[in-house]
């Protein structure tokens, strides 16, 4: 097994049997994770490839590219792996979270405003602890805002500083 090289993008192996770099997530595990955690069907990602650059940082790219590739960016940051609880990015949840069927918190207008402002709030919920999708209703539909961490009856906002807003 070789080590992860943080200066370039490497395409994820399809399955564990194809793995050449220690600890690297597989495409199968990434797609399964979204399906298990949020009910987002695996086929959603059929036209995308997944890449690692920087230990544990997984990127999603439409189409394909030669692997490895040493450039500045490839698609969108998607998921943080190589830690006990994998964590989706705000941008990934905004882009793909409409398809989620579970672990979605539907917030009221006031709760949504607090959430996007980076505030934590106590909200009763009987689902799983862990990373959840915070959403609200806008223009007649449910729209994902970002990633929350639900623990001890509290919804913690993980909206990055640069994306927090006081609406």
């Amino acid at each position: 097994m070789s080590e992860n090289d943080g200066q370039r993008f490497d395409r994820l192996p399809a399955t564990a049997a194809d793995r050449e770099v220690d600890g690297r997530a597989t495409r199968e595990a990434v797609v399964d994770w979204w399906e298990n955690r949020f009910g987002i069907p695996a086929e959603t990602f059929d036209d995308h490839t997944f890449w690692e650059k920087g230990a544990g940082k997984i990127w999603i790219f439409a189409g394909d590219a030669p692997s490895p590739i040493a450039i500045e960016g490839l698609g969108m940051t998607f998921l943080r792996t190589r830690q006990e609880h994998w964590k989706p990015t705000t941008d990934a949840v905004q882009r793909f979270g409409r398809l989620a069927t579970k672990n979605v918190f539907e917030l009221t207008d006031e709760q949504a405003e607090r959430f996007v402002d980076g505030q934590d709030q106590e909200i009763p919920y009987d689902g799983d602890w862990g990373y959840v999708i915070a959403a609200h209703e806008i223009a007649g539909d449910r729209e994902p805002i970002g990633v929350g961490l639900y623990v001890y009856g509290e919804l913690k906002s993980t909206v990055p500083k640069g994306r927090q807003r006081s609406v």
């Binding site: 036209d47 995308h48 999603i60 790219f61 439409a62 189409g63 590219a65 030669p66 590739i69 040493a70 450039i71 500045e72 960016g73 490839l74 698609g75 969108m76 940051t77 990015t89 941008d91 905004q94 882009r95 996007v116 806008i138 223009a139 007649g140 539909d141 729209e143 805002i145 640069g162 994306r163 807003r165 006081s166 609406v167």
Partner: protein
């Protein structure tokens, strides 16, 4: 406005031009069709009590009645991107299609790159390049916020942009592009309504210096485009040295021609001469948008086809 005196003889109704340059510009956003439709955006603005008006020349450009479009829900969701109205011209002239291979040679901070990705419906590959690493992080931020996944970001001097990183294992170079946008660094005269200090430091030497860079970037863009492919060259400046003279130079040096295109904004044709210099008559196919014509910023756009 002193530097603009040079345009007294080329701009129709010069007084109206100067008047417009002195007025501030209203805010506009572009609907990001990767995430929302214009109807959804309008409904969301209605819910937020924000007034708006759709531009009549472009289905995705909306003038909004707020000074801070960035703190509205449509922006937080990446449904809209704050973008000056004329800045939406070049990507719609390049008009890439889903599946195309497209290069944005001077892409940061990504207003036009994200528009290109939306026109491509996030299918095919968009290479977004800029030589300024700090500005590239703004580009990445904007691409991610708008939900773009088909972008590959590179940090090169566009004058010697390399196809090598995209080479398949048994090949030396990556594939050429179907379409390239060169939204060149420029003296930014046309942004005067947004940045009242845009003309600070203006000099003919400065203009001549940038023109040299622009020529190098446009030539390389043509070299990395496939035969029959298209290149759009744009600037937000009026200086003919940075516009028609750059086209004239590249028409002489590279195998390409200028082509016609439609633009539903009032505009002037490219200038076929400036001071003592005559340009290749093809440069008349380029279009100049002046601030007083449509109450916008100033802009220059030309479309080229690479010859077989």
């Amino acid at each position: 406005m002193e530097p603009f005196q040079r345009y007294r003889d080329v701009v129709d109704d010069f007084e109206a031009f100067i008047d417009a340059c002195e007025r501030s510009l209203s805010m506009a956003v572009r609907v990001n069709t990767l995430k929302a439709t214009p109807e959804q955006v309008e409904r969301a603005f209605d819910e937020a009590g924000i007034g708006y008006e759709r531009a009549d020349w472009h289905p995705h450009v909306v003038r909004v009645e707020t000074d801070t479009p960035g703190v509205t829900w449509p922006s937080i969701h990446g449904w809209v991107h704050g973008q000056e109205e004329v800045s939406a011209i070049p990507a719609s002239v390049l008009a890439p299609e889903p599946g195309d291979r497209v290069l944005d040679a001077c892409a940061a901070p990504g207003s036009k790159a994200t528009q290109l990705a939306a026109e491509m419906q996030d299918e095919g590959t968009l290479v977004a390049n800029d030589n300024n690493l700090g500005r590239l992080s703004a580009l990445r931020f904007n691409c991610e916020r708008l939900g773009v996944t088909n972008v590959a970001v590179t940090n090169r001097d566009a004058r010697n942009f390399s196809l090598k990183p995209f080479a398949a294992e048994d090949e030396h170079e990556g594939p050429q592009f179907d379409r390239v946008l060169v939204d060149a660094p420029c003296s930014c005269e046309g942004t005067i309504r947004k940045n009242p200090d845009a003309l600070d430091g203006w000099s003919e030497d400065h203009v001549a210096g940038i023109a040299g860079v622009q020529k190098g970037i446009l030539r390389r863009a043509i070299q990395v485009t496939r035969d029959g492919g298209h290149v759009v060259y744009s600037t937000c400046t009026f200086a003919p040295e940075e516009n028609e003279a750059v086209l004239d130079h590249v028409l002489q040096k590279e195998d390409c021609r200028l082509v016609d295109y439609d633009l539903a904004l009032e505009h002037d044709d490219g200038l076929t001469g400036w001071r003592d210099t005559e340009f290749d008559p093809q440069v008349a196919k380029a279009k100049r948008v002046y601030p007083h014509q449509n109450d916008t910023g100033g802009f220059f756009t030309a479309k080229l086809e690479v010859s077989a």
